[in-house]
Symmetry: C3
Subunit: 467 residues, 3 copies
C-alpha cells in the first residue's frame, strides 16, 4: 500500500500496462497547459499565502462539501454560512473523519496527489493523522514556496486561463502583467451576467456594462457594441477565448429586428416567459459571429441546472455542490448557430456536456463534420478515470482525436491542478495503450498522439501559441 502507486490508472494486463508506462514516461513532466479553469485571479495578482489546510482543501471545494453534506454534515461544521464554525482545525478533523466517503472518487485521488506532491505527506488522511497533517500543511503554507506564484512555477504550468465576468476590470491580471513574475495568466471573457436575463441583477449589470464601455446598452446595437469593446479589452489583456455557461444548448438566429424587439422586451420588463431562453439562444449566435471576426475561441458549457436546492442557495450561496446536470439536446439546439456560422473556418466552438449520452449520439457526429466544432474534455462530474474512459470510448471512433482539445483542469482548487493533469495523462495513456495492444493503433502513432493529448491540442485549439 502506497498513497500514490506509480502504475495507478494503468490497465492491469501486463502487456498493455507496459505500453501505458512507456507512453506516460514521455509526457509525465510535460508543461501544463490550462486553458480553462476557475482559479481566483487575486491569487495571481496578490500572491498572498493561504491561511490553512481547511481553507485550501475543504471550504471552497464544492466536490468535497457536497459529499460531506450528502452524508449528513452540516454546512456550519464545514465553515460555511452564518453561524459557521471558525475553528479551522475542527473543520479539518470533520473532513478527515469522513475521508472514507471519498473512496473511489476523483476527489480522493486529487487530494492524495496534492498531499504527496505538494506537501510531501505520505500517509493516508484519517482521524488519527488529521492533526499532524493539518499542522504540517499549515507550516508549509507560511513559507514563500507555497504562495500561488511559486506553486504555479513548481507545477510547471506554461499558461493558465482564469474565467472572468464581462464586467470585471481585470485588475489582478494587470498586476500580474505589471510585475516581474514570468507566469502567464490570461483572462477569459465570460459574459453570463449580461447575457442571461435570469442572472441575479441582470438589468443593473446592463447599466454597468454600458457605463464601462461608453455604449448605449438601452439599444440592441449599443449592447452588441459593448460586447465588441469588452472582448477587445479582454483580448488586449491576453484572452484567447470566451466561455458561456448556459442551462441548455439552445441557439437562435433571429432577424435584427426580432432580436432588437426581444432585447427591448427584456430591458423594459415586459418579457414573455420564453424570452430569457430565446435571448440566451440568440446571444450564443451573436457571440459566435463576433468570434469569427475577433478570433476569440468560444466555449459552451451547457446543461447544468444551477442551485437545484433553493434552501442551500438561499442560505449558503452559489457553488456549494448543488448544481445538477440535465439532459441536453445539441443536435437541435445548435442548429441555428451552426447554420449561421458553423461552416466558417475562422470559428472554433468548443463544446462541453454533462450529458454523456450525447457523446456518441450528438457531439462526436457534430464535431466530426462541422469545421468550427471541437469537443472539450469530460466536464465536472465526468473529470475522472471512468468519465475520461467513457469519453474516449464514445467520442473517438466518430470524431477522432484531432477534433478534441486535450485536457482542462477546470478547477478552483489550486493544488489539484497537477493532480488532475496527472490523472488525464494517465487515462489517455491507458486508452492509447489499449488501442495499441488490441491493434487498433500502431505504437508509433500512440507516441505521436500522447503529447498532443497532454498539451498540443489544447495549445492549438485555444490559439495559445508556443511549441
Amino acid at each position: 500500500m502506497t498513497l500514490l502507486h506509480p502504475d495507478r490508472l494503468f490497465p492491469p494486463d501486463p502487456a498493455t500496462r507496459d505500453v501505458a508506462r512507456r507512453l506516460f514516461a514521455t509526457i509525465e513532466t510535460a508543461p501544463i497547459v490550462s486553458p480553462h479553469g476557475h482559479t481566483d485571479p487575486a491569487w495571481w495578482g496578490e500572491n498572498r499565502a493561504f491561511s490553512d489546510a481547511a481553507e485550501l482543501f475543504v471550504i471552497p471545494d464544492h466536490y468535497v462539501v457536497r459529499m460531506l453534506v450528502s452524508q449528513g454534515a452540516q454546512f456550519a461544521s464545514l465553515g460555511i454560512g452564518q453561524d459557521a464554525t471558525t475553528d479551522r482545525r475542527a473543520i479539518w478533523r470533520r473532513f478527515a473523519t469522513a475521508y472514507h466517503l471519498f473512496r473511489g472518487t476523483p476527489s480522493r485521488a486529487w487530494i492524495d496527489h496534492a498531499l504527496v506532491h505538494v506537501f510531501g505527506i505520505g500517509e493516508r488522511l484519517s482521524p488519527d493523522t488529521a492533526d499532524d497533517v493539518f499542522d504540517r500543511i499549515n507550516e508549509h503554507l507560511q513559507s514563500p514556496e507555497f504562495r500561488p506564484r511559486a506553486l504555479y512555477d513548481r507545477f510547471g504550468i506554461e499558461v493558465l486561463a482564469t474565467t472572468d465576468s464581462a464586467l470585471d476590470d481585470l485588475h489582478h491580471h494587470h498586476a500580474v502583467q505589471d510585475c516581474d513574475w514570468t507566469g502567464r495568466i490570461v483572462p477569459t471573457y465570460r459574459p453570463d451576467a449580461v447575457v442571461d436575463p435570469d442572472y441575479e441583477g441582470f438589468l443593473g449589470n446592463l447599466e454597468r456594462f454600458g457605463a464601462l464601455t461608453g455604449c448605449d446598452t438601452h439599444r440592441w446595437q449599443g449592447y452588441l457594441e459593448a460586447h465588441w469593446r469588452r472582448r477587445a479589452f479582454f483580448k488586449s489583456m491576453g484572452a484567447t477565448a470566451t466561455d458561456h455557461g448556459h442551462p441548455t444548448a439552445q441557439t437562435a438566429d433571429l432577424s435584427e429586428a426580432d432580436a432588437s424587439s426581444l432585447y427591448q422586451r427584456l430591458i423594459r420588463g415586459n418579457a414573455r416567459p420564453e424570452d430569457p431562453e430565446l435571448f440566451r439562444a440568440q446571444m450564443l449566435t451573436e457571440m459566435a459571429r463576433m468570434s469569427c471576426e475577433d478570433g476569440l475561441v468560444m466555449q459552451l458549457h451547457a446543461g447544468s441546472h444551477r442551485n437545484h436546492s433553493g434552501l442551500v442557495h438561499r442560505l449558503f450561496g452559489r457553488d456549494r455542490g448543488f448544481d445538477i446536470p440535465t439532459r441536453t439536446d445539441f443536435t437541435n439546439g445548435l442548429k441555428p448557430l451552426l447554420n449561421a456560422v458553423g461552416m466558417d473556418r475562422r470559428l472554433t466552438l468548443i463544446l462541453f456536456t454533462l450529458d454523456e449520452s450525447t457523446y456518441a449520439r450528438e457531439l462526436a457526429p457534430l464535431a466530426g463534420a462541422y469545421p468550427s466544432l471541437r469537443l472539450g474534455p469530460p466536464w465536472w462530474f465526468h473529470d475522472s478515470f471512468e468519465g475520461m474512459r467513457r469519453f474516449r470510448e464514445m467520442a473517438t471512433e466518430t470524431a477522432g482525436f484531432y477534433n478534441t482539445v486535450g485536457f482542462n483542469d477546470d478547477t478552483r482548487a489550486l493544488c489539484s491542478i497537477p493532480a488532475r493533469h496527472d490523472v488525464a495523462r494517465r487515462c489517455d495513456c491507458a486508452f492509447l495503450a489499449e488501442l495499441v495492444t488490441s491493434h487498433r493503433l500502431d505504437e508509433d502513432e500512440a507516441f505521436d498522439l500522447a503529447p498532443l493529448l497532454a498539451g498540443g491540442l489544447a495549445r492549438e485549439a485555444y490559439r495559445l501559441g508556443g511549441r
Copy 2:
C-alpha cells in the same frame, strides 16, 4: 465445463482475479439481507410445498416467460391464460427446449445456480435432461426441506421484506409472527392502489381505504390521515420502508388548498387530463413528509411503462414481461420534493431507475449532494453482470459507495434469491478488485467495503438494525 465455475464473474486478469477471489471469500456466506422484494407472503405465512418445477421456475417468472414469448412461444403453452395447458411436464419441456435462448442472460445464471445449489443438479438443462430434472425437482419439492421457511433458513436469510398493498391486512405476516419459526419477514407499505388515479379500481380502493382506517377518505385531510394510520399499522408489523412504483419521477408541492381541490376533482370524476400525474407527484411529497415523521424509509421505483401491450394485458394480466422502461427525468422531477424535504436528515429516499443514462447525469449528482437521497442498486433489467458494472462505473465517482444501499434481490422467484445475491457479491468484488489493481483503492479499503456492499449498507439504509 462446469455448471457453476468457482471463478464466475471475476475478471480474467490473473492479478485482479486473485484480489476478487480473496474479497469474495470474506462475504460469500454472509447472511442475506433482502430489504426489497416480491415473494408471496402466503409462502411464509402458510409454508406449503410448491407443486412442481414449472410452477417454481417458469409460469410466474416474467423474465422467463417474456423471453420464450419473444421467440414465438404461445402463452398457453406456458400454462398462462384461458385455454392454457395444465400439463406441467409439457411446460417444462417447452422451457428446456428453449433453454439456449437464455445464453448470456441473468435468467440463465440464476436458474443454473438454483439447480445446483437448491436441487443438487449438476448438468445443463436441455431437451435431453428435461424429464429427469423435472422429476428430481418435483421429488425434492415434496420433502419438508424444500418448503419456503426451510429454504429461507437454508439460504441464510437474515431478514426479508415483502411488498404489500396499503389495503392488505397482512394476515400472512401475522401468521409468521404468531408461529415459532424465527425467520424475519417484514412488510413494506406500497400504496400505489390508493395513490395512483390510473390504478384499476382507484375509487373503490379509496372507499376500502376509508373503511379500513375509519377515516373520511372523501376529504383530503381524511385521506392523508388514512395513510398515517396504515403506515403506523405496517410499522407495528415490522415494516421499515415504503415503496412507490410510479411511471415518472415527477413530484409536486402544492398548497393544501390546491392539493385538496385536486383530490376533490379526482374523487368526483371531473379530473383534468393532467390531474392523475399531478396527484401522483403530490403524493410522493406527502409520503416524504410522513417519512420525516414516522421514520419509514421511502423507495421510489420510477420509469416503467406498465402493460405496454394492451393485448397481453387484456388476455394474460399484469406482470407478464411486457413492462417497458422509458426515459426518466429525476433532476427536474424530484425538485419540488427535494425543495420541500430534501435537506431533512430524518428522510431517507432511495431512488431506482430503468434509465441508465441518469446514473452519472442525474442520480449520482443528486445523491452526492442531498443528505436524504441514496441510490438503490441496479433495478430489473439491469440486475445483471453488465448492469451492475455500469452502475458502479457510472455512479461511484460522483456518489461514492456510501450513498448506495447494497443489493436488493427484488424477486418473486424464491430460488433465485441466493443466486442473485451471489451475482451481486461477485460483481462488487470484481469491481473492487479492479479498483485495487488499478490503484484507485487500497486493498485494506476494499476488504472494508466488501461486507458493507454485501449487507451492511442495506441494514443501515433500510434501518433494519442488527450487526
Copy 3:
C-alpha cells in the same frame, strides 16, 4: 508494426485472446451474408471498372469526407460540388496527407483492410506513399479481377441486398438476373420518397407511384394498393425485406376514415403542421400490416436528423456526412404499431437506432418480449469496435443473442464489405470469449453461437434461405 495484425480487436488477456482466436478461426472465411446495404445496383447490373482510387475510397464515402471537412478541408478539394477539382491524384494526396485524422476510427480499419486484402498494399498510407498507392490501385482497377462482380465473388458474398426506391424499375436487378453471373443481388423496398411528406418532390412522387402501378394515388385506398403492387413486384425480383428511414420511431394506428382524411389533407396542400409526422407514423403501421400478409421483413432505421447543415445540403447535396443523430423514443413511439400487430408471429420488424441509450432501456426490453421484434446490429456511427461492444453489453442480458440478427455492413463503399464483416466477426468473438473466460457462457455454447452471429441469424431473420 504490421498494417493488419492477426490478433486485432481481440482482448489483451492471453486466456481470453486464445478463446477469441479459436472462435474466429471457425468463422473467418464463412460466406458473407449482406441483407442490408447501399451498394449501387449499377455496379452489379453493368459491372464497369472503377476509374481510380479517389472515386473508390474518397469522394463517395461520407465517413471520409466529413472527417476531412471537419478538419478544414474544402469540399472542392475533395472533388465535390461545383468548381470541384477534377484532379483525382490531388484528391488522393489531400486524403493521404490527412490520414492521421482517422487514427482510432473505423474508417482507418476499413481502408487498411481494403488496401491489404483487395489491393495487396502492406504499408500505411501517408504523404510519402500516396502516389505509389494511387498508381497501384488504379492499375489494379483496370483489370477484370477488380470489377464489381469479380470482387463480389472474391469477397465470398453469399447474398447482397441493395436499397431501392419504391419508384425504381429495378432494371439493374433485371440485368443481373438475365446474365449468367451467379451472384445473388436482391432489392429492398424503401418507400421513403412516397411515404414521407417532407421528402423532395413528394407530390410528384405520388403521381409517378400511381402511374407505375395503375392505381389511383389520389385516394387513400388507391395509394395503399400501389404499395401492395410495388411490394409484390419487389418480391418477385427477389426482395425479402422493406426498409424505412424515419426521423423518429413514432407510429400511429388511425381509423381508416382518419387515415384517409389525413392523406387528403396532405395531397391537397392543406396539411396541418403535425400531419407529415402523423402520416409517416401511420404508414409504419400500414407497412407492418402488409408485412404480415406478404411476408416481407420490415426494417426501421429511426433517429437521423438528415442534412443538418442547410448550407452543405444546398451546395453539395445529400449524404455528405452532415446527418446527425437525435434522441429517439421507441417505447412510446412504437406502441400503436405494436398494439396493432406486435404479437403477430408472421411479422418480423428489425429495429435500428442511433441513440445507444435506448439499447438497454427500450430496445432490448421490447425485443425481449414482442415476438415480432428483432434488434438490428449497431448502425452507422456505432458500426465499430466500441460501438459493437456497447451493443452486445447493453442488449444481450435482456434480449439474448437470438433476438438479434447478426451483422449488416450497410455500406456504399464496396471494398469495405469484407473489412466490416471482419470487424464484426472479431468483435463478436471477443465478446463471446469474454463471456467464456468470465464463465458466463460455456465454451461449446460460444462455438455454437459464433456462426449464428456471423451469418445464421441474418439468414433466418431476413428469410434469405440457405444453409
